[in-house]
């Protein structure tokens, strides 16, 4: 999971946050100090050919 800093109390807002060992990430999330940054899903490839029995 990738986290982003959301408070100046923790660092520069918008910078990625890499929690050190022992840091309570759940507390930082619930306190609003960091936000989860979901990894983007890969886009489906565009269809380039029609099916053999597909009606046009």
């Amino acid at each position: 999971m990738i986290y982003t800093i959301a408070s100046t109390k923790l660092g520069i807002i918008g910078d990625p946050y890499l929690p050190a060992a022992g840091i309570n990430v759940a507390a930082l999330l619930s306190g609003g100090f960091i936000v989860e940054q979901s990894t983007p899903k890969p886009k489906k490839p565009a269809k380039t050919s029609t099916e053999p029995n597909e009606e046009i």
Partner: protein
């Protein structure tokens, strides 16, 4: 005998969050529990070192604003985290060592400590964890 003037103005982080501007008192004490090993024939009690059980007690101004005291501490009660404290905000050095308690435990959190006409302050204590000190 030479003396030096030391103005207390430490920087404090709890769970990586800088809480310096909410603290008015900090007391970090390193404790190694004493285990008595006095045996027959001794004329004074003697001890050996046991488990480490250091404590950090902070007096903090209570605030329920975003990213302030309550937001920092609310989810830490009953769990472990890391705290750091440094004598001044200057760079870490041999004369400004950074002390860290890794994995210390917060047992209690006063929610409201109110008195008419006074700022709401709370005392919290982190217990245990592994003490380390960095000088660079």
């Amino acid at each position: 005998m030479p003396t030096s003037t030391y103005l207390s103005n430490p920087t404090v982080t709890i769970n990586s969050v800088d809480v310096t501007d909410q603290c008015s008192s900090a007391n970090l004490t390193r404790v190694i529990e004493a285990l008595e090993s006095t045996s027959f024939g001794k004329t004074a009690r003697v001890y050996v070192g046991g488990l480490e059980n250091s404590t950090l007690t902070l007096t903090m101004y209570n605030s329920f604003a975003a990213a302030e005291t309550y937001a920092t501490l609310a989810a830490l009660v009953g769990s472990s985290t890391n705290i750091t404290i440094k004598p001044t905000s200057s760079a870490t050095s041999a004369t400004n060592p950074l002390s860290t308690l890794t994995g210390c435990y917060l047992e209690t959190l006063p929610i409201v400590n109110a008195a008419l006409g006074a700022l709401d302050t709370i005392d919290i204590t982190f217990t245990g964890g592994v003490y380390s000190v960095a000088t660079s």
